[in-house]
Subunit: 143 residues, 2 copies
DNA sequence: CCCTCATTGAGATTATATCTCAATCATAGT
DNA sequence: ACTATGATTGAGATATAATCTCAATGAGGG
């Protein structure tokens, strides 16, 4: 079992919940992809593999994964929410192409720093943030 | 008629469209509020005032307002999209309280600057962006 | 005055996500 | 091993925002 799956197992059990085969399937699916996933994609992949987890359980498990801190829910301004796992992905923000839909990632530690200052100034206790830049990627600008 | 409404009228007419009473009502409603509005709120306010604009027209006109650049559509991670008019509101980002729902605004020109650099590095042509910080406001932290 | 095309409204429709509830399953206590 | 308790699941119903459809209306140009 992957380290991340084990971490999720620990989280689940520490909460006094059960680490069921369904939860394991969903977790493995999310941890095995390095792209952005949405609930429907996860469901489909599981079905293709022959796993019969229900839609409700996929949504419920995604929530647990987010709670555990191992997965981040990201809203890219599209109609459905996306998820990405954290491990091996230092915090980053997103460049979303409005034409082809491609999502690039970028890191800018200074931006994070400035955000913290802004929160301090406002006596705001941050738990997370989301920065998306919308526009056109290199490829789509050329055309 | 307010300056902004006139600007919207110009935009509409330059596009060869009609500046109808319905479009005017929606525009005035949006320009008269200094809070975040959503489509349903706009619809309700108009109904209260006796204006009988339909839901479809409200959505359609909000799109036009965004297109015109006079209004910004913002996604605060809630279930519905919010709108705010630009005039008198220099670009700013949002602190969203997860407990009471309050939305504070903050400005940080340096963050904007850094975003531009990030775009340059990635050869990305930005048209807009959205930065939300989620957490707990001063009031809610105290409790 | 007519023709064309934009616009509107009411309700149907789409799509994501959540909820309900009966059936199943795991675990602890006896 | 047996039972009671509570967690979990799945199928489908439900909620909700937003978009779409299409007939009827209205505006403006020729």
């Amino acid at each position: 079992m992957k380290t991340e799956t084990l971490q999720f197992k620990s989280y689940i059990e520490e909460k006094g919940l059960l680490f069921t085969p369904e939860r394991q399937s969903v977790a493995e699916e999310v941890f095995s992809s390095h792209d952005h996933l949405d609930a429907e994609k996860v469901l489909k992949s599981l079905r293709v593999r022959g796993s019969k987890v229900s839609r409700a359980t996929v949504y419920r498990t995604l929530d647990l994964l987010v709670e555990s801190g191992l997965v981040e829910k990201i809203d890219l301004g599209e109609d459905r929410a996306a998820y990405e796992h954290i491990a091996g992905h230092p915090h980053h923000d997103h460049l979303v192409c409005l034409r082809c839909g491609k999502v690039q990632e970028f890191e800018e530690p200074l931006i994070e720093q400035l955000q913290e200052w802004a929160c301090e100034k406002a006596s705001f206790k941050a738990t997370g943030h989301s920065l998306n830049i919308y526009g056109y990627c290199e490829n789509c600008t050329a055309k």
